[in-house]
Amino acid sequence: MTSHVMPAHSDSHSSADNYLTASKGFLSWAMTLDHKRIGLMYLIGTMTAMFIGGFLALLLRAEHLSGTPGFVSHDTYNQLFTLHGAIMVFLFIIPSIPGALGNFILPVMLGAKDVAFPRMNLCSFYLWVFGAIFFVGALLTTGLDTGWTFYTPYSTNTSQTNVVLATLGAFILGFSSIFTGLNFIVTIHTMRPPGMTWFRMPLFLWSLYATAIIQVLATPVLGITLLLLAAERMFGLGIFDPKLGGDPVLYQHFFWFYSHPAVYIMILPGMGIISELISTFSRKAIFGYRFIAFSSMAIALLGFLVWGHHMFASGQSEMVTIIFSALTFSVSIPSAIKVFNWLATMYKGSIVLATPMCYALSFLFLFTIGGLTGLFLGALATDIHLHDTYFVVAHFHYVMMGGTLVAFVGGLFYWWPKMTGKMYNEFWGQISALIVFVAFNLTFFPQFVMGSRGMPRRYYNYLPEFQVYHVLSTIGAFLLGFGLLLAAIVLITSLFKGRKAPANPWGAATLEWQCSSPPPLANFEKTPTVGNPYDMQSVVWDPDTESFVRRGEVPIVPDESEQPAHA
């Protein structure tokens, strides 16, 4: 064992010099420029937002146990679904994977010491905090009842709630997102160490890169839209107000020009995580690496061309509607390619159902449903019937929650040992995955049925014929909340009771597993050697350290293929 070549499992370093213990005190966190600490702060922030948003969702579901007024009023209900949507979208799903996992993992996976602009990274986190404060401000003063889409003229003229505060919050969060994306693009372009070519980048990085492009290109348009909205409300600009000659449908175009690509900001990083998980736990190189990488880029670019499919019933011209429908179908192909490639990766693999893999398989199941139900909504004739019903609600929850959230939790379980240096309880982790999977389907599958039967979304009261589906959905929702809580408990208890994590517990070949767990402050003591990120055969289980180690550097097991005989 030559520990100086292998920082991976070198026990010679005391735990004192990892990033968590390198410095102490509140300010060492609040003013940190270390991407790992910022990632961890993002993780805490976004998880808090998720549990608040989830709590609001449970209140909504509880209200829907009956179709008549229950324990909340009309107004409260409208505020609950608005804030549930706004918090989940702006404060949780968009920043979650790039902000938390991406910030932590991207530089390490790339073999860099940090992101390109650490101060901007910290700034991005604080912008997130400020944006969250604005939302909380809106929540505590008047609430917000416009729906997370802020459709005009309701949001500019009619709503009595603090729309301006919330739009400014979303505006600030937009800048937070732009800064993260900008940082990632620059980091990937300029900070790659020698040997890290574009096609040696792990697919998670490709997906973050594609995501970052959308963040940089789409978010500014949301920014200007929200500024216009705020000005419209405060001064009466007239651009979106029909009474002053404006056009409310123009607002929808502006809004969805961002918010449809934003859907891919949410799902692409999740797909990247799944590529890593399936490959690692099948102990097999990812199938069709280039196709997956390019499909991420294709989704990012095509995602800009399909925003109009949110407005098939809005009264935009028929020709536009038809073109958007055709383009919408084009974006389904890259997603299908990914699913097929993941399946092919599992073929002849060596599959182990560790907790992250359980989540990855749930993702595959749920995302496939989410994607296929998109076909119903892309086809014009059926969309006219299904638009703005619970079918849509179910569809995007299958994609956003069954897709992104499940991938996020899977990725969190996967990188948790790296982030905290602790192993969690595998059994309870798997149980949480099972509960989440079952409960998720129980919650959202009935919504497909009631949506098809004509139950409109955002309805406080509903007709008695829909009650049975609502009741099923509510039961599922509470179970789902319990499953996610269990996952959180499993992770949190590991901090106190978990055994120490080895450098590479899973046998992955990407760079982040080459440094110790948790990583040292500068990530790598020595510039890491970059190879094929999916060459699983290069890492083998080492019972001494209870970790996977790189085969090429272990002198006992020389690998002839990697060492020319007489170099």
Binding site: H74, D75, N78, G147, Y151, P153, T158, S159, Q160, P242, K243, G246, D247, P248, S282, R283, K284, F287, G288, R290, S314, G315, E318, S325, A326, S332, I333, I337, L343, A344, M346, K348, G349, S350, I351, V352, L361, L364, F365, T368, L375, F376, G378, A379, A381, T382, I384, H385, D388, F448, V449, S452, R453, G454, P456, R457, R458, Y459, Y460, L463
Partner: protein, 325 residues
């Protein structure tokens, strides 16, 4: 078993000429998706079992890419979705191309009621249409965006303020069906639901549920006063129903979005700028210029009915309000 089957049946009954086509596309996509979904999940489960990890045994070598395979599974779904697009597109064009001869109805949406106006001057809060006749709705909104949705007809169209939007359908059977607002429009969005009443066009086909033919209904609706043959307050009750007043005003004294019709008549009531005697003049002014004097504790949410409600109908409403004190 029958109830269970009903629960899973994804659609309300097919009541318009488009419905069958829409459902056919739906089922086509449904079975296609089911096929792919079952294949994907079955393969996933099979791989998990078949290739589960065995300690100490490395997986056998297998290729990590195969371009012909990739192209195959890109092109086949591509062709399939192209087919779906084409079918959806033709169905949509049908829905958006009304025939030359239609029966036109003007629709006004406002928070949170619908108003359907007929050529004869009839106004109603429910949509009455003749069966087997192409009907075109010309819709406008007085305030925010609404959306008219009739699940049984498979039609939906947003109603955007500042412009007219159109919609057409042909009802196939006599009966009453749900009509929803599906664009979030504020506090009582979920109460903005009403009925579509499909009338027979001749006496033979009337049903118990819809006992009048369309012409009979139209004649009565055009003249709620029935030429003075019924008491004024009864006519007023009809007018109140026609305009959907009870969405916002109660008749039992309880507070809704607006003040109740019951109580206060003939008394001084508090307004934002003082007080006013609630008499015939005040009611009339409130109908025509609702924002002139706002009652204390209420928001100026009521739209004006100037031009929509005829003078004698207003008299009837006043008589009705007086009668329920």
């Amino acid at each position: 078993m029958e109830t269970f089957r009903n629960l899973l049946d994804p659609f309300p009954s097919q009541q318009s000429t488009f419905a069958a086509n829409v459902d056919a596309i739906y089922y086509f996509i449904f079975w296609l998706s089911t096929f792919f979904f079952v294949v994907i999940v079955a393969m996933m489960c099979y791989f998990v079992v078949k290739y589960r990890r065995v300690e100490g045994q490395e997986p056998e070598k297998s290729p990590s890419h195969n371009t012909p395979l990739e192209v195959t599974w890109s092109v086949i779904p591509g062709i399939l979705v192209l087919g779906i697009f084409w079918w959806g597109f033709t169905g949509y064009v049908d829905m958006r191309s009304p025939p030359a001869e239609t029966y036109d109805i003007n629709v006004t949406a406002q928070m949170w009621s619908w108003q359907f106006k007929y050529g004869t001057g009839a106004v109603d809060a429910e949509l009455h249409v003749p069966v087997g006749t192409p009907v075109r709705l010309i819709m406008q909104s007085k305030d925010v965006i609404h959306s008219l949705f009739v699940p049984a007809f498979r039609v939906k169209q947003d109603v955007v303020p500042g412009r007219y939007s159109g919609l057409w359908f042909e009802a196939k059977e006599v009966g009453t069906f749900d009509l929803f607002c599906t664009e979030y429009c504020g506090q009582k969005h979920s109460d903005m639901i009403t009925k579509v009443v499909v009338h027979a066009t001749d006496e033979e086909n009337v049903t118990e549920e819809v006992p009048q033919t369309f012409d009979q209904w139209l004649e009565v609706a055009s003249d709620p006063l029935e030429g003075g043959r019924i008491p004024l307050e009864d006519a007023g009750k009809k007018v109140v129903g026609m305009f959907g007043c009870l969405q916002c005003h109660s008749i039992d004294g309880s507070k809704k979005v607006g003040p109740s019709f019951k109580g206060h008549f003939g008394q001084q009531v508090e307004t934002r700028d003082g007080s006013v005697l609630m008499d015939e003049n005040y009611i009339r002014e409130s109908i025509l210029e609702p924002n002139a004097k706002i009652r204390q504790g209420y928001d100026p949410k009521m739209p004006s009915f100037k031009g929509a409600m005829k003078d004698e109908w207003i008299d009837a409403v006043i008589a009705y309000i007086k009668s329920i004190q």
